[in-house]
């Protein structure tokens, strides 16, 4: 099914070399340039959000208040969350989609290049607004990234307005990015690339894009309701005016749970690309992977209230959401089993992308286990809002989503730059990250089970030793990422030349292009067998 005709391509031939200087980046409609900008933006945000995490961990290093006051501490936890979710993980995946989807489906570029430019360029403004709000009188948003009403309405300061507008802009950017992905995949596949021949990264991103279109408007709705409750006299979330603060949580988590999968489905696609390459064996259960991803996406709309078990729902609602949540473990398990079966009786080598992929499989699964534990409603009453939850979502988001993004960067960097990365530095980066990330997040399970609530700037004495250890892990993990910065910088500068194939076992259209690939990926569509 190919709608792309050679006529379309003829238009695009006339500027095959990029214009030079600043204008290249500001005006670009090229999927690779935009992908690069998304990835660099995400990397910058990863370090800004990470710096905030360092402030949090420094304050929590010892009991007592040492460095920051509780109000600023709350701003740090809030903005750290917002930046990492909306500024680091989501733009990084969009950057990967931009770079890879056209190359993987045999297209010259994304379908809607001007919208692509705009969807990137509004992001720096969104995050400037958010970050600048920290310097307002009274500081920035301090109500947690989940901005529960009425803490975010009646009881917040005026930075809330800036927060709302910045979230609006982020949402617009994501929706445009998602539309672009869907239109590109539907219309621009090379002849012969049937649905069930698409690489899994393309499949998972297609499903992610539909999730984005479904739930980002819900987020836009709920922030707008917060804005009107605060400034225009509405009472959506105020019982005194006939509203309900729990309504906020229902709307927020109806966005929030699919959002969780938006941040992990593309990761599944990445791991499904890397494992077969280094096992030198086709992905086990391709079709079941597609069905499992779709089931996870559909189920993600039916589980939102598992974030709200303590809000006082009717017991039958609690049962419904408990059962649905447990059910998600089934398709997720299928994915993990498939990856292991792909490795089984392969001929494996352990280059850095594979190392990160294996770390992903183990550590993401640990995050999945704690997720299964959290699904058990009676036990959730004990886990809820403790460090056990913090441990859970950092295992799925840091050793899950972030590790997959790092794996993807190592896997495709030689393709993007034309040079191999520095192997020694990369190994240091991997081992330092792997050890420190577990020193950082594993003990959080223990302090959470022992009863330490999340989002507190100071804690009881029995949690002190573990918190010191966690902070040490945190600083080490933060520092380790500077190695990644160095690896990427050096790789862009030069190094051993990469072949088109790069990895012995790599399969897919992107490896048929030279390294680095031409400015417009496939000017004539390749034939897919």
């Amino acid at each position: 099914m190919s709608i792309v005709t050679s006529g379309h391509h003829a238009d695009e031939h006339h500027h095959s070399a990029p214009p030079a200087g600043f204008k290249r980046w500001l005006y670009t409609t090229n999927h690779k340039d935009i992908g690069t900008m998304y990835l660099l933006f995400a990397l910058a945000m990863f370090f800004i959000g990470g710096a905030m995490a360092m402030v949090i961990r420094a304050e929590l290093f010892q009991p007592g208040l040492q460095l920051v006051d509780p109000n600023f501490f709350n701003q740090m936890t809030t903005v750290h969350g917002l930046i990492m979710v909306f500024g680091a993980v989501m733009p990084a995946f969009t950057g990967l989609a931009n770079w890879l989807i056209p190359m993987m489906i045999g297209a010259p570029d994304m379908a809607l290049p001007r919208m692509n430019n705009w969807s990137f360029w509004i992001l720096p403004f969104a995050f400037s607004i958010l970050l600048m709000s920290l310097f307002m009188e009274g500081g920035g948003p301090a109500f947690g990234w989940t901005f529960y009403a009425p803490l975010s309405t009646t009881y917040s300061n005026d930075s809330t307005a800036l927060f709302v507008f910045s979230v609006h802009i982020m949402g617009i950017s994501s929706i445009m990015g998602a539309i672009n992905v869907i239109v590109t995949i539907f219309n621009m596949r090379a002849p012969g690339m049937k649905w069930m021949k698409m690489p899994l990264f393309v499949w998972t991103w297609l499903i992610t894009a539909f999730l984005l279109i479904a739930v980002m408007p819900v987020l836009a709705g709920v922030v707008t309701m917060v804005l009107t409750d605060k400034y225009f006299g509405t009472s959506f979330f105020d019982a005194a005016g006939g509203g309900d603060p729990v309504l906020f949580q229902h709307i927020f988590w109806f966005f929030g749970h699919p959002e969780v999968y938006i941040m992990i489905l593309p990761a599944f696609g990445i791991i499904s690309s890397i494992v077969p390459t280094f096992a030198r064996k086709p992905l086990f259960g391709y079709a079941s992977m597609v069905y499992a991803t779709s089931s996870i996406a559909l189920l993600s709309f039916l589980v939102w209230a598992h974030h709200m078990f303590t809000t006082g729902m009717p017991v039958f609602a609690e049962l419904f959401f408990m059962y649905c949540t447990m059910l998600i473990a089934v398709p997720t398990g299928v994915k993990v089993f498939n990856w292991v079966a792909t490795m089984w009786r392969g001929a494996m080598t352990f280059e850095i992308p594979m190392m990160f992929a294996i770390a992903f499989i183990v550590l993401f699964t640990i995050g999945g286990f704690s997720g299964l534990m959290l699904a058990i409603t009676p036990a959730d009453f004990q886990y809820h809002d403790t460090y056990f939850v913090v441990a859970h979502f950092h295992y799925v988001l840091v050793t899950g989503a972030v590790f997959s993004i790092i794996a993807a960067a190592y896997y495709w960097l030689p393709k993007w730059t034309g040079y191999m990365y520095n192997e020694t530095l990369a190994r240091w980066h991997f081992w330092c990250s792997l050890i420190s990330v577990n020193v950082l997040f594993f003990p959080m399970h223990f302090v959470g089970l022992a009863g330490m609530p999340r989002r507190i700037p100071d804690y009881a004495l029995q949690f002190a030793d573990f918190n010191a250890l966690i902070s040490i892990g945190g600083f080490a993990f933060g520092l380790s990422q500077l190695l990644f910065l160095l690896v990427v910088y050096k790789c862009v500068q030069g190094g051993e030349k990469a072949s088109a194939q790069v990895w012995e076992g790599a399969e897919g259209l992107e490896w048929q292009l030279s390294s680095p690939p031409p400015y417009h990926s496939f000017t004539t569509p390749p034939e897919v067998k």
Binding site: G64, L65, P70, N74, G138, A142, F143, G144, Y148, P150, L151, T154, Y155, D244, P245, A279, F284, G285, S288, T310, T311, G312, V315, M322, Y323, M326, A329, V330, F337, V340, W344, R345, G346, A347, M348, I358, V362, I366, F369, M373, I376, P378, F381, Q382, H384, D385, T386, F442, F446, L449, A450, G451, P453, R454, R455, I456, D458, A460, D465, L469
Partner: protein
């Protein structure tokens, strides 16, 4: 305690950690002191062991493969890539395990949510940043505030054993009785959590949630607010003292008598005149407990969040006096300023307003008396 041993064993897998730490570190969920909390603990351990077994099998297969199926060993990769039978198998087995897990979880959940046939009912109201307890069957109610001195938090004094987990007036409940908790809030969402009872229920403004506990052992049980509720979320602990029914009965009778006396004495207090010194010293005490969290000990507030009292128009101009009394008594709608008229006695209210109008260089010289507060209160009733 084999489970704890197991956790400790897990912990030892982290390099060096076992040596660094002593033995008193809590590692696992508490078994608690109620039948329900024990059931919750059992569910937690069951699902934990299930995860361990699955993890062992899956990671075991993976690492076996990583060790044996590597190119360096000269193996040729197999080319198999699908098997419907295997896919069905590893879809069906987890479903069966999950059903096995869902059954006991459902039973426990239904028991936890059955709040009928309670012996004692207590209304718990959260507000920034304290708890209010009201016994519905007895004429007893009181506020419960953090008792840890500010100097311990700011590291000027050494921290004591129950740092941040101690209150001025704990909630007291009888043992062996089903105690029902109704939770609600005066401002933002809080969450009342006592791990030993496996009770964590959100306190939502404008709505009432229910939960219950039947505690068998007398003792002191400590918890914390579990829902982010603003600046001092980390500083609103919950302390519950469980007493035998006999001790509870005498305690509650004593409290009821004290509170009735205090109410009767309000009239007498209204007639009493405080000296400036007395008002200022009592006022400072009340200010530290109820006002300083927001307006700060220095009276300077937090710019953009909580207004300053030092040098504010209301608290330095004689004409602001009535407005000052009014805002302390009734709060300010749409802001974090609470109504303290129902939280403090006439004398405390008079003293704290006097303090605010004369401390930090606010030198109105105003001396507010209990009678003024009562007049303001009566004025509202008309």
């Amino acid at each position: 305690m084999t489970d704890t041993m197991f956790y400790r064993g897990l912990l030892l897998t982290l390099p060096g950690v076992g040596q660094v730490f002593g033995a008193e570190m809590p590692l696992n969920m508490t078994q608690g002191v109620t039948e329900i909390s024990q059931q919750v603990y059992d569910l937690h351990m069951t699902i934990f062991y299930i995860c361990c077994v699955i993890g062992l099998v899956v990671f075991g297969a993976m690492f076996w493969s990583i060790i044996h199926h590597r190119k360096a060993k000269g193996v040729q990769p197999a080319q198999f890539h699908e098997s419907t039978r295997v896919e069905l198998l590893w879809t069906a087995i987890p479903v069966v395990i999950l059903i096995g897990m869902a059954i006991p979880a459902t039973k426990t959940l239904l028991a936890m949510e059955d709040t009928t046939k309670a012996d004692v009912t207590i209304l718990i109201t959260g507000s920034q940043w304290k708890w209010h307890y009201k016994y519905l069957e007895y004429p007893v109610e009181f506020y419960s505030l953090l008792a840890t001195p500010a100097k311990q938090i700011s590291n000027k004094l050494p921290k004591t054993e129950n740092y941040l987990l101690e209150v001025d007036r704990p909630l007291v409940i009888p043992t062996g009785k089903k105690v029902r908790f109704l939770t609600t809030s005066d401002d933002v969402i809080h969450s009342w959590w006592v791990p030993a009872f496996a009770v964590k229920k959100d306190a939502n403004p404008g709505f009432i949630n229910e939960s219950w506990a039947k505690v068998e052992q007398p003792g002191i049980y400590r918890g914390q607010c579990a829902e982010l509720c603003g600046k001092d979320h980390g500083f609103m602990p919950v302390v519950v003292v469980a007493k035998t029914p006999e001790q509870f009965d005498s305690w509650i009778a004593e409290q009821a008598e004290q509170q009735a006396k205090a109410k009767a004495a309000e009239q007498a207090i209204a007639a009493l005149q405080m000296s400036m010194d007395e008002a200022m010293s009592l006022g400072q005490q009340v200010y530290q407990g109820y006002c300083a969290a927001c307006h700060q000990p220095s009276g300077e507030g937090l710019k953009g969040v909580f207004p300053a009292l030092k040098g504010s128009k209301m608290s330095i101009e004689p004409a602001g006096r009535q407005a000052h009394i009014d805002i302390v008594l009734n709060g300010k709608a749409g802001t974090a300023m609470q109504a303290f008229g129902k939280q403090l006695g006439l004398k405390e209210l008079a003293a704290v307003i006097t303090y605010e109008r004369n401390a930090w260089g606010n030198s109105t010289g105003d001396l507010v008396q209990a009678a003024d507060i009562q007049a303001a209160k009566n004025g509202q009733k008309e």
